[in-house]
Assembly symmetry: C2
Homo-oligomer: 437 residues x 2
Amino acid sequence: MPTFKAPKGTRDFYPEDMAVRRRIEDAWRSASIGHGFEEIEGPTFEHLGLYTVKSGDGIVSELFSFRRSGGTDDYALRPEFTPTLARMVAARGGSLPRPIKWFAIPSHFRAERPQRGRLREFFQWNVDMLGLDDPSADAEVLSTGLAALDALGLRPDVATVRLSHRDAVASALEALGVERESMYAAFQLLDRRDKLPPEEFAKKAGDLGLGPDGLAAFDRLARIRRPITVDPAEIAAETGVPVAAFEPMVALREALDDAGVSEWCEWDLGIVRGLAYYTGTVFEVHETGGGERAIAGGCRYDGLVELMGGPPTSAVGFGMGDVVLGLVLRDRGLLDGIEPPRPTVFVLVADDVAERPAARILASLRQAGVHARRSYRATRNVGKLMSEASRAGAGHAVIVGRELEEGMVVVKDLRGGGQETIPVDSLVTMFTGGDDE
Amino acid sequence: MPTFKAPKGTRDFYPEDMAVRRRIEDAWRSASIGHGFEEIEGPTFEHLGLYTVKSGDGIVSELFSFRRSGGTDDYALRPEFTPTLARMVAARGGSLPRPIKWFAIPSHFRAERPQRGRLREFFQWNVDMLGLDDPSADAEVLSTGLAALDALGLRPDVATVRLSHRDAVASALEALGVERESMYAAFQLLDRRDKLPPEEFAKKAGDLGLGPDGLAAFDRLARIRRPITVDPAEIAAETGVPVAAFEPMVALREALDDAGVSEWCEWDLGIVRGLAYYTGTVFEVHETGGGERAIAGGCRYDGLVELMGGPPTSAVGFGMGDVVLGLVLRDRGLLDGIEPPRPTVFVLVADDVAERPAARILASLRQAGVHARRSYRATRNVGKLMSEASRAGAGHAVIVGRELEEGMVVVKDLRGGGQETIPVDSLVTMFTGGDDE
């Protein structure tokens, strides 16, 4: 007799797990719609080339790729949503009204070693705004993400947005002596600075053209973390970078302030984000304690739609997965007590003669859209059945018994207390607020 | 410049497509919850063995199977949900309270030739009830499916449930002379009767032990289609089968009547359903015209949980995909006019000085949970901006302009007509019904 388990790094969602997932998805969907984004989705797998076209991505080594037995096409399970979105925008070329404001909540797959905060299948909320090359788009996308965190019970004292701007950092690095053609390598070094021994870091910085002074300035720049209310001019003074380099940060800060999300945000010029197609604004949302991986990550990716064969299109977006977010919420008790929907009515059979009429009463309630359940136990002991109704979390119990001979049933209010005997015919009306059809 | 397309047989869901999918999913979810089912989900891919353990399934040839590059495990994209469900029930053994009432709306994958009504990736609603070996469970599952069809606008004159009962048909075939050990072959023949030339059909029937009389009776049985209100005894008389064979149909008919769904149902003893693990009740939902594939298919599968290593567990359920259902609804105009959610408020900037205050007004509305949009156009022409607000389907337009100097904005009712000038401070209250926070 074989026994099967879910594949490593995937999850079974039993009703209590699914209730939590629904809570998170509902917060994501409500925030998206409230901010004027429209939902889209794409295939769960794509042609492998869609993910490998942009070489240098770390994601490629984590792909679940496959070829259909007997087929000739190579596919991969979706590791991220942005390539699908860029493909969809490219396919409709210029015919979509701008700006395009889309969100999606699909499943994603990464063939990496499962560990805390990382699974092989997870759900990720993607919010993207395309065709508006203005910091207000960055702020709109980010404030959508924060609205969902707020709805889930997270506040600026618990979650922080760490922001940087690749153009600003690139200008700063250039001012410190990094050659333009070494900029990609410089960002890679910035990203890995805490993972490298100091001497290796110094050597690599030297390869970029930085002397000891430049190295010290690079290091200071990488460690800048300041409230967003701090004027970028101050950061320029502190790091010895000309203030003009930080110009893009001034406009971004203003847009974030207008969007009412400044209190969540801080500058962190060490934020790089891995993907090669990122441009401009980059950010990560972290729990303030910092123990977990990033809750969300976002960026501008102005070149990607064109890479997919579409028109040049500015773009900004973020992804927020369910795994780290779930850990952060659970650690703070914000997922306690979440359970599947509870019934409005629980129907009990108090007498054998009532069994088939009770089935019909149940059906009429359900056909009217009332969430109604019944006991499946053979007992006619009303006390035991009432306990079952309470355990089910029902609002009311409908007791179908001998009163039926007079066309009546007993309705018990399980929350407010009290009971009344009412005609069977008015039962549906009682629970649909008058519209009995 | 590469251009990519969605893989063959998969779909891109643009906002208007996604709105339709949400409509269908919402009907499925509401019907499920109203009937007391709780939502679950499982992994998108499973160990290949989960699907091949029950050999003889047609599904195996349509699997998207794969092995992770560098890995040793064989996986397959989910072609149906029932094996996952049975695995989940088996994993929790006897600890789940009975009956188990679960539903799921996951994506499914079949590597078959895409054609009308069949795609390689589709969504399927699964409703299952386990641990109650009673026809009332069959009726409860089926009436849940019909409640969703009803909510989507289908009625018994458009959609028909064709029901059979494998035990009854097996008893009938036995009475006609089919040996017990040939029963599986007999059901295969029953399933394929319309695809075989008469002489081949007669030959295969002969192999089952049926003489000319038995063959004629078999053929009559296979073509029985009667309203569910017809007494199975009548069918017995008509086919020359002892009435006792149809006993299971009597109880099923009573349960369907109590559940209030008889008018949707008819007996069709030619319904077999392909899967080898089906037992007892089998049914398909078809549009009455009959031109499309089945909208839904369901059955008892009492042995499956045990096959997955769990305790013996009675089970009944159905699956309803989004593709055929979508075709049937669309052909009847029942998907016309479905669009993504429309905004409550559309914010316009009527003067340059109002630009940043308008951004703050927009943010405050959204933070209060109001679905609010804005114009992204540079124009300050109120007429043009109002047209844009109307096209967006907004309920109200908020015009932010020179009135702001007195702390006022203009609110225009785009549906009822009329406008008023109100203090900025009371704007959020106006759209949240008083709770301004």
